[in-house]
Symmetry: C2
Subunit: 449 residues, 2 copies
């Protein structure tokens, strides 16, 4: 199944929908992976997507419903009765069903839960609904294979045959005590080699890496990433095994976090995609633009204060963009390095003072190089040594300020448990604009005017 | 094993090293996961890390060597003989051994390969060394469990007992034909339920999702992510099963890509961490600063051209920062959305014209809001309607230009297979600075001077 979604394929599908060519559509769609059907439904418009959905049949439609994007899914669910939704949920694993049911208004959630015929399934979903979406409990699934440590190998094999019915991928066999408390894992290797009468207790591996059900999803994801885990068991406060988290769910958390940081650094305040509506995209972009406006207006006040001098020395205005660009770039660079190191836990244990000292040297090093270029350029082209000196000294000062500020702010935010990514992008550039201008004109006032 | 690395723990370790308290160190270190030992070794200095490494013993030291960061590992390897390295490699899986040996100079690579006693192991490593590091072959491992489709269930179980010896985690059992060509996968569920005489041929699942050995690592990673796969088989051109890629290796690729994009957007030209040396960090940051310098100098020329007017209307200089900030922010926002959509394959099939049209509306929408605020502010505070009009019109023009340029450049780069992330950050802001100034002063010239 090496399928690639092309524009031609989409055109074929849309064409078939318009001509109500159901046989063709059914044949094409059933040859696709549910993930690809969900993607086709994302690209076509809503009525077309609904047309496709109706052709999928019970089994496939519930598989596609799991994969479909949240905002499209919500609209589908609106057009279905509680009984129809319940029927789809019965075919899903409890964690997938929970993700779907979470999109519904609370009163309909209850209706749907009551309409689910399998009581165990509906109570599993109810339990999962109680956990915070961003916690380990919110991303775990409750289907796994476990062995009581008092079982024999032969006994365990028989029990696995029953349990495996409910589980999609096995990955790891967990070992629990009589109270269902997690004790360890069973290696397939040792299991396959052991004699029928061996007790699980005598061949299992102790001390598995596990997470508490209330731990943050982000913590879980970085733990799985750090230890290269494909699956991690989830326990409650008493150590009882509740479920497991597979790496695909953790991967979603990791990606979302990285994208959020990138968007924040780019001045976008809520997660958007290029396919979102005009209004959603505009709204996500407006807040930082308004902050930028405020910065620009404050900058106007700073420069306005020196307006008299500019009338005499208009050349000072020419170098405003240079000063602003360098302050902005240095600030973004230094904050990005800190934010990324914080996100990856690769920050070392140096004190904040030591980190600032290091940034001071980097800023001075690059600042002196850039300053020397600017100084020579100014002197040669404008034949005005005092102006050249003003630009050169201002650049070093702005580099130093911007580098230190860009390092300090995310470290301080992190110390007080505020997301350091807030400090990146427009915030740093806006602040640096205002302070940079102040530095530039004060130095100009001292050395030039 | 719920270990968290604290500053106190590191201090204890460093203290023990300084006092040569080997017993204490051995006890502490052997209670840690190899990943955590590698992390301790990253945080302490090199001689301290070497001290720790010598205390680990053969088994653990080779496990730690796999987990250790590349630049520290290189230095360790320098102090070891080819025989010592070979001994460590023999205890590793072939793909891990390949990662380690890749850090060595080529002549030493050969020496080490010859020193490996297990011929099969050394030829596996040699084979893996031939693949491009950024291809499927470069990140796959060659240990997996497979069944010939002509085997019976009983026969397969016996063979699995032999194969499992070599494999760390099983995840999936692959089904191959007599020529070792990948035919499908074997579900544990159906295997456990089948009678001893059933042929694998009659119970396996056809058409597994697989990747070619030469496919780019990035393509593999996004395929695994899209289909929620924990492991994916790798085949050669004839369909022969060569190896498998597990999600932890794909995750590294995904993270690295996201980090590269973020760093490019922040004007950092090579991957650095806050713990890197002053010189490395300065060097990574200097290129974009020099480009920023160039932009600033071009900006100075643009403004210099209007110097005569500024002498008369110094107030025009006051609003330079506002114009620059808004052009920069809009450009970064629009390019970030496109770059991220391209990276996630969530771009829809609209033509470039349609995407530009959409950005035009977003830019106009936000531009008119910001422009109205600026116009009223200017008019009220400066009582100068022509100046207010100039600022207002300039802002709308700059928003439009910056939004369209920020959308267009990454789309075009992507079309010609250049990394669109190149278009973000300093490149967009630098270009927008120069063009934004030109727009501002030309509109000022038409409406105000």
């Amino acid at each position: 199944m090496q399928f690639e979604l092309t524009k031609d394929f989409i055109d074929e599908i849309i064409n078939a929908i318009e001509n109500a060519n159901d046989d063709f559509l059914i044949e094409k769609l059933h040859s696709l992976h549910p993930v690809d059907i969900a993607e086709v439904m994302r690209i076509v418009n809503l009525p077309q997507a609904q047309y496709i959905y109706r052709l999928l049949g019970e089994e496939l439609s519930s598989e596609v419903l799991v994969e479909i994007e949240e905002d499209i899914r919500e609209k589908f669910l609106e057009s279905l009765s509680a009984e129809e939704i319940a029927e789809s949920l019965e075919k899903m694993y409890a964690d997938d069903a929970t993700d779907v049911i979470q999109d519904l208004p609370e009163n309909i959630q209850e209706e749907v839960l009551e309409a689910i015929k399998d009581d165990e399934h509906s109570s599993e979903i109810s339990m999962l609904l109680n956990f915070d979406e961003d916690s380990a409990g919110g991303i775990m699934d409750v289907d796994f294979i476990s062995a009581n440590w008092n079982w024999t190998v032969a006994n365990a094999l028989a029990k696995f045959r029953e349990q495996v019915e409910e589980v999609d991928h096995v990955y790891t066999i967990y070992v629990v005590d009589a109270q269902k408390r997690l004790k360890g894992t069973l290696s397939l290797k040792r299991f396959l080699y052991a004699s029928d009468e061996t007790l699980i207790k005598d061949i299992f591996q102790k001390d598995p890496i596990s997470v508490g059900v209330d731990e943050e999803a982000e913590t879980v994801a970085s733990k799985m990433e750090k230890y290269d885990l494909v699956v991690i068991p989830v326990v409650d406060a008493s150590g009882k095994l509740l479920g497991r988290i597979t790496i695909d769910d953790a991967l979603d958390v990791i990606k979302e976090e990285a994208e959020k940081d990138y968007q924040m650094a780019s001045g976008i305040s809520e997660k958007v995609e290029s396919s979102d509506s005009l209004f959603v995209i505009s709204r996500a972009r407006l807040p930082w633009l308004l902050i930028g406006m405020l910065g620009g207006i404050l900058g106007a006040y700073v420069i306005g204060f020196f307006e008299g001098y500019i009338t005499e020395h208009a050349v000072m205005a020419s170098f405003i963009p240079l000063i602003l660009a360098m302050g902005g770039n240095v600030g973004v660079q230094s904050s990005a390095i800190i934010v990324q190191s914080l996100a990856n836990n690769t920050l070392n244990y140096d004190s904040i003072t030591k980190k600032l000292l290091k940034e001071l040297f980097v800023a001075l090093f690059n600042g002196l190089i850039c300053s020397a270029i600017a100084l020579v350029f100014c002197w040669v082209t404008k034949s005005d040594f005092n102006l050249a000196l003003t630009i050169g000294v201002s650049l070093v000062a702005v580099f130093t300020y911007a580098g230190l500020f860009g390092t300090f702010v995310p470290l301080i935010l992190n110390k007080y448990n505020v997301d350091p990514a807030l400090a990146t992008g427009p915030f740093i550039t806006t602040t640096n604009d205002v302070v940079g201008l102040l530095i530039y004109f004060l130095i100009g006032w001292a050395l030039y005017f």
